[in-house]
């Protein structure tokens, strides 16, 4: 579009900023080409989008979805298990929580889960107890979970997904990450584009302030001001392009400015949960201190998936209970329980759960025993790579199921055992992507999310 034609288009339809915004959005409903254009899946997908809830720190399986009465018997008895890094005396720790079977499917979960226990929610879950991680350290384990590689520098899950499927909404990033105030360990490498081109980098939506860094100009510059600036910029760029007709990259860079301008309007609209009904806000726990932050992010996630975002990841930290297990885990559960339940119900009521996959996981599991910390009996648990639990709900997974099992003290996965890469492969599969074919040539080989391939966890698939 020539500058003049666009200006007419923008100013011709209305004078208020709201009207301007509408035209912005309409103006872009043209089909995108380029790296983020929508691509056909490799096979029929079961899910269009994923919302991944990452419980940073490593939730304890025995105290959440894999309760073990045997541990209660063993409580404070000496443990002679040989445990990775641990030195010195160890003792078993029974769960401070009771547990019960909930819903029609009878999934077991610990008592602090109140909202998730609602049959309407619980019967949607597919709890998976057979997963094994590979790194005992938080940053490496997080990188492993989020990028498939412990070393850092590989593309995030969402990068692979947007690389494979493109982005439906050209006015909004296809791969969005939300964190707490503090970034998770290993930081932005958890959602970097790695060796994939930068188009596929995850965008972190900030929980306070401007949702995207520098999305808007300083306050003394209005939107009209910015539009005028962009028109001048276009004048400069058009003159320059005329002198360099063979330089194709120029066009793409010019278009980015227009896309950026549109995003200034579309992004705040999409993330603005205040537009949601009060009742629904309360269902997500936006009115309660302990759940407000995470609830807001869950609600934003739903809105984004509605707008075509492929992969939303929410980090919720504080699960690293080496000590004070009861306080730690009960407060963590209390902060996410209600929002997650509301998210699942909300997705369900809109018919979105069928093709949206919700994943709840940590970066590793926890041990059945603990060491003395500072020379005192600390009621907590260490890091465990041999067992961790996670659950799935929605697009393409079983409903009301428990898959896999650990031994009688939740120390080690023994049934339907799979490494994290198989979870990745399964996620891609549900989205219509084949890990073996979703490859990118880099540094002498075709790289893939799973690194070297692996297998589907068919047991969790519907």
């Amino acid at each position: 579009m020539t500058p003049l034609a666009r200006r007419e288009f923008l100013y011709g339809l209305g004078s208020s900023l709201g009207a301007l915004a509408m035209t912005d959005l309409q103006a872009t409903e043209k089909k995108a080409t380029g790296p983020l254009a929508v691509k056909k899946p490799m096979h029929a997908p079961k899910a269009k989008a994923v919302i991944m809830l990452v419980m940073e720190g490593g939730p304890s399986q025995a105290d959440t979805f894999d309760p073990k009465p045997k541990l209660t018997e063993l409580h404070l008895k000496e443990s002679t298990r040989v445990e990775g890094l641990a030195t010195g005396k160890r003792f078993f720790v029974g769960s401070p929580f009771k547990s019960r079977k909930v819903g029609n499917a009878g999934i077991e979960m610990s008592e602090p889960w109140q909202f998730l226990a609602d049959p309407e929610v619980a019967d949607e879950l597919c709890v998976y107890r057979g997963c094994q991680a590979a790194s005992l350290n938080h940053p490496e384990a997080l990188l492993h979970l989020n990028t498939g590689s412990r070393l850092g520098g590989d593309p995030g899950l969402g990068s692979w997904i947007t690389y494979g499927l493109g982005s439906v909404n050209q006015n909004f990033p296809g791969y969005v990450v939300m964190t707490e105030l503090a970034l998770p360990q290993a930081g932005p490498a958890n959602w970097g584009n790695g060796f994939l081109p930068a188009y596929y980098r995850g965008t972190r939506l900030r929980s306070s302030g401007s949702p995207i860094l520098d999305l808007n100009p300083p306050r003394y510059k209005t939107r009209v001001h910015q539009r005028k600036a962009l028109d001048q910029l276009e004048m400069l760029n058009a003159k320059h392009a005329a002198k360099h007709p063979q330089h194709a990259e120029l066009q793409a860079r010019m278009e980015n400015y227009e896309l950026a301008f549109r995003m200034q309007m579309s992004v705040p609209g999409i993330v603005d949960v205040d537009r949601e009904p009060k009742q629904l806000q309360e269902a997500y726990g936006l009115n309660r201190k302990e759940t407000a932050a995470f609830g807001r992010q869950c609600m934003m996630a739903r809105r984004m998936v509605e707008e075509g975002v492929r992969f939303v990841q929410i980090f919720a930290g504080g699960w690293d209970s080496h000590d004070y297990l009861e306080q730690g885990h009960s407060s963590r559960i209390a902060s996410v329980d209600q929002p997650i339940a509301a998210l699942i119900k909300d997705l369900k009521s809109r018919g979105m759960l069928e093709d949206t996959l919700v994943v709840w996981t940590g970066e590793f599991g926890r041990t059945p025993d603990n060491n003395y910390r500072g020379g005192v009996t600390a009621i907590g648990r260490g890091h465990n790579v041999d067992a961790m639990n996670m659950w799935f709900a929605g697009g393409g997974v079983k409903r009301g199921a428990v898959v896999g099992a650990t031994d009688d003290i939740a120390a080690k996965a023994v049934e339907v055992v799979h490494p994290i890469r198989d979870v990745h492969i399964t996620l891609l599969h549900l989205l219509g992507l084949d890990d073996n074919k979703l490859t990118y040539f880099h540094a002498g080989r075709y790289k893939q999310l799973s690194q070297f391939g692996g297998e589907l966890i068919t047991e969790i698939m519907a």
Binding site: N137, P184, K228, A229
Partner: protein, 949 residues
């Protein structure tokens, strides 16, 4: 050290350009397709082609693990194939490939096997299977196979390629496998390329070798670029900075008098400018992954890493021969143990991300050695070594034994902070005030920690009193039984427990930072590891076990728990260069604790090593043309790209070695070629797009976007703020405040906020001097595609993404620079600089700004449009006043206490702001400057500023 000798008997030299002989009877010509092989031929085909293929592509899922056969289908023998899989149908019909599912599957018809795109069989390979089945699918027994293979191993070179002598793989099949000569081109000796014709014609041999290929492709070369494009191009290439308007003016005058002399004089000036070293160092630091912190959980500072950065800049500026540069970085401590400079050089061995948290000692150690082996391989030899950590290399002639030999060459090396006196050439400006700021932060953290500790100990005293026991302090009571001591964190609220952890970590962090000002250096020593090894404090042990000698083995699958055969320290055995051609293991080097690295380095830096010089020559070429002659600069192996101009690469490399490994000479040679001076616009662009879409043949000069560092530096040049001071401790530019104060999780705590340097002069240094934190990249640089600091970056990504527009339009950084630019232009108007008319109006302002930013005169349309815009903005800004934003001297941080899940707050001191010198801000300048700054901002954003032609 053993004298280096070229060993000829190990090598059958194959000249460049030899293509594989036709595949004889195995070829897939249509007219031959139906001829059936004789049984002898079929047995040979099976043994040499089909079975290895099955082993590689099929057995992993259909045979190797009898308990886990995919599809219940095993292919280990003919019977299994005949039996077929779970469907019950046979997969093999001898004599009838078309009826055999096995054949259909590898064609990816019906089922797709092997399932990975990566593993898919080539046309040639499926033909082997077809031919074999057609000849009745004969399966000779093992003994017969061995005989066939042994006969084959006698023949060094045949139609399948050549056998390369190495130290030997884990199996004979690997040891005697064959390579396509073009796959191992990099291991072959340099060829002597005849350029006598060019020399006789007075032509630059580069042009001779480039144009020859263009002639073959019948592509016209682009005309020479204009003087303005040329000075901008070469100034950015050599210094990473734009030329000044005055330099452009001068060059124009000289160019008009005599273009050749003007060009030569320009190159000479730039190559001798100190900024040359800064620019070249940036390329090198990309490759070696320079950062000021260690990464991993704690991201502890490497407080003296800056000395290595400055060493690299110095080395380039001194035009240190590259082979010396190699020796110093790999083995400077062994080369000249008492020279601080060479000790600083070994900083290379400390560049990788590394941490010890939650890792068993042996694994942390392995991580360090793996990182060194892999990276020394790819940095210097263009051979990423990670591939052969677990097995013999799949594609290159590098057995896993060589991996562990090189690993072993580093096995006596321990990372440590070593004493190294400051050198007169090192910049120690401002040490005192900077150190004072850190000491102040340390004192603050210590005092806050003392308060919490005091509270705890008061409660402890009370507990002891209540239990009628004598008081013991925290350390003393640690080992006491639980009923004889107060509970952990006695008397502390959950929030205070959190604060204790936070302050303890802060004390460690500031203590560490004070080491910046000590005569220490991130280096290594040879000997046993220290008693406690962690990333926070690594020191030379006071006493060392003199008998300590590391022993290394090939590790099966790369696992410490699976040592296979022992190895001795050594070099890559497939390169034509041996250490000791008399011995049985010509690739071995000393196994003494001292001297391993020096021998390795001498081998790497040898004139006869076919890899090292080619690799650096290629990197230099890339620095001028955007991509190398080998477009995978870190990977010269079979899976890397072939050289587009192998003869040019070899000619340049031979010339480079013969002339003493001098980089400046190499740059001169390249820059004086006609190909470097070409315009980026082709006279036949349609043809170019068809014949040479990627411009590999260089008929035009490839434009490029500025890198993150060049962009920031260029903005500072335009705004007039760039401080050209060189070297010294890292400088801290202002960073987006939200990011600067963003809590960032590290082990036990959050990392301290980014505090900018105190004065504009300190902040506005070149980007190479800015603080590189692995866990927290500067958002401005990051969004402009700053590479990941953990992996060697051999080529910058320049993808344009929309958020770059946000940063370049809206960030505080760009706002401030635009204001500085506006103030500069306004000031110059007063001084009537730039020879512009009229000099007292807004016209001057626009013209001068365009001249500074683009080195040209604003054209009438631009002038008119920008002038109208400026006037409009002057009115706008009179109506819109910016709000004043204050710098915080304290920030209240919030962290979630793990026990309660409650956020708790603590105050972090931002002491630099107590006496801070900000640059001009929107609220400190008037509306006219803000309006002019709007124009300046656009000039920064426009494509013209961001691309080099």
């Amino acid at each position: 050290m053993t004298r280096l000798k070229r060993i000829s008997y190990l090598w059958v030299a194959v000249a460049f350009g030899v293509t594989l002989l036709p595949q004889l009877q195995l070829a897939s010509h249509a007219d031959e397709a139906d001829s059936v092989l004789s049984p002898v031929e079929a047995n040979r085909l099976f043994t040499l082609k089909v079975l290895p293929l099955l082993k590689k592509k099929c057995f992993p899922c259909h045979g190797d693990d009898a308990k886990d056969l995919r599809g219940d289908y095993q292919l280990l023998n003919r019977a299994g194939m005949l039996a077929g899989g779970e469907s019950g149908e046979t997969s093999l019909v001898p004599g009838k490939p078309e009826a055999s599912q096995l054949y259909q599957a590898v064609l990816w018809e019906g089922s797709e096997m092997p399932p990975k795109e990566n593993d898919r069989l080539t046309k040639q390979e499926t033909e082997y299977i077809r031919k074999w089945i057609a000849a009745d699918a004969l399966w000779p027994d093992t003994e017969a196979q061995l005989q066939i293979k042994k006969r084959e191993w006698q023949i060094r070179e045949n139609e399948d390629g050549i056998i390369v002598d190495t130290s030997g793989g884990l199996s004979d099949d690997w040891t005697f496998r064959r390579y396509d000569p073009s796959d191992i081109w990099a291991f072959q000796p340099l060829s002597q390329v005849d350029v006598s014709r060019a020399k006789a014609d007075g032509q630059n041999p580069i042009d001779f070798l480039i144009d020859r290929k263009l002639e073959q492709a019948a592509l016209a070369v682009a005309p020479e670029a204009d003087f303005r494009a040329l000075i901008r191009r070469v100034t950015y290439d050599l210094t990473g900075l734009p030329p000044s308007p005055y330099e452009v003016f001068q060059f124009r005058q000289a160019w008009e008098k005599g273009p050749r002399q003007a060009w030569q004089a320009l190159i000479d000036r730039l190559i001798e400018s100190p900024q040359y070293g800064e620019r070249q160092a940036q390329h090198w630091l990309d490759v070696v992954r320079y950062a000021d912190t260690a990464g991993f959980s704690n991201d502890y500072e490497r407080s003296n890493a800056w000395r290595y950065r400055d060493y690299v800049i110095r080395s380039f500026n001194q035009d240190k021969p590259f082979n010396t540069f190699v020796l110093e970085q790999i083995a400077g401590d062994e080369l000249r143990p008492d020279d601080p400079e060479t000790l600083i050089a070994t900083g290379l061995l400390r560049m990788g991300p590394w941490g010890t948290a939650m890792l068993p000692k042996e694994e942390a150690r392995q991580l360090y050695l793996d990182d060194l082996t892999h990276n020394v391989g790819q940095i210097f030899l263009g051979m990423p070594m990670r591939c052969c950590k677990c097995h013999d290399h799949k594609f290159d002639p590098i057995p896993t034994r060589d991996y562990y030999s090189m690993y072993s060459a580093f096995a006596s090396t321990q990372p440590a902070e070593m004493k190294a006196e400051f050198l007169p050439q090192e910049n120690r400006n401002g040490f005192e005030p900077k150190q004072k700021l850190v000491e102040d932060l340390l004192a603050y953290a210590s005092s806050k920690l003392a308060i919490v500790n005091q509270k705890q100990e008061d409660a402890a005293k009370k507990w002891y009193q209540d239990h009628s026991l004598p008081y013991k302090d925290e350390a003393a009571r640690k080992k006491d039984p639980e009923d004889k001591k107060p509970p952990r964190h006695v008397g502390l609220t959950p929030a205070e427990r959190g604060i204790k952890k936070v302050r303890e970590q802060e004390v460690r962090i500031w203590g560490r930072r004070l080491e910046r000002y000590q005569p220490l250096v991130q280096s290594v020593y040879n000997g046993p590891p220290g008693k406690f090894v962690n990333g926070l404090k690594l020191r030379l042990p006071s006493r060392m076990d003199q008998k300590w000698l590391p022993e290394n083995s090939i590790l099966g699958g790369g696992a410490l728990t699976a040592p296979l055969k022992p190895v001795v320290p050594g070099v890559l055995s497939a390169a034509v260069l041996a250490m000791d051609h008399e011995g049985e293991t010509p690739w071995r080097i000393t196994d003494a604790v001292q001297g391993r690295r020096l021998e390795l380095a001498r081998w790497i830096a040898s004139d006869d090593n076919p890899l090292t010089a080619r690799v650096i020559v290629n990197r230099v070429w890339q620095s001028h043309f955007g991509k190398g002659l080998v477009q995978t600069p870190n990977s010269f192996g079979a899976k890397g790209r072939r050289p587009t101009h192998p003869e040019l690469l070899d000619w340049l490399t031979v010339d480079f070695i013969e002339n003493g490994w001098k980089l400046k000479r190499l740059h001169q040679l390249i820059l004086s070629s006609a190909v470097y001076r070409r315009s980026h616009q082709s006279s036949e662009s349609a043809k170019l797009a068809k014949v040479d879409f990627n411009n590999d043949l260089l008929s035009v000069f490839p434009p490029r976007r500025l890198t993150a560092e060049e962009l920031r530096d260029s903005i500072l040049v335009a705004s007039g703020e760039l401080n050209p001071e060189m070297g010294g401790v890292p400088v801290m530019p202002e960073m987006n405040m939200e990011v600067a104060l963003q809590p960032r999780m590290i082990q036990f705590s959050i990392a301290p906020a980014h505090q900018p340097s105190r004065t504009p002069a300190e902040r506005n240094r070149r980007t190479i001097y800015t603080y590189r934190v692995r866990g927290q990249a500067d958002p401005f640089l990051k969004i402009m595609n700053l590479p990941n600091p953990n992996e060697s970056c051999d080529m910058r990504d320049s993808a344009s993404v929309a958020p770059q527009a946000f940063t370049l339009l809206n960030s505080d950084m760009i706002t401030d620079r635009a204001i500085a630019f506006a103030l500069r232009v306004k000031e110059e108007q007063k001084q009537k600089r730039g020879n512009l008319f009229p000099d007292d109006s807004d016209v001057y302002l626009i013209r001068r700004a365009v001249q500074i930013a683009y080195h040209r005169v604003a054209d009438p349309v631009e002038l008119k449009s920008l002038l109208a815009y400026l006037k409009e903005m002057q009115i706008y800004h009179r109506k819109h006043t910016p709000e004043v934003i204050e710098y915080p001297t304290r920030v209240t941080r919030s962290l979630v206490e793990e026990a309660t899940g409650e956020p708790f707050g603590f105050v972090e001191k931002l002491n630099v702001y107590e006496d801070y010198v900000p640059s001009a801000k929107p609220w400190t300048v008037d509306a006219d400057i803000r309006a002019l700054a709007d124009v300046c901002l656009l000039l920064f954003n426009a494509n013209e500023f961001n691309y080099v032609y």
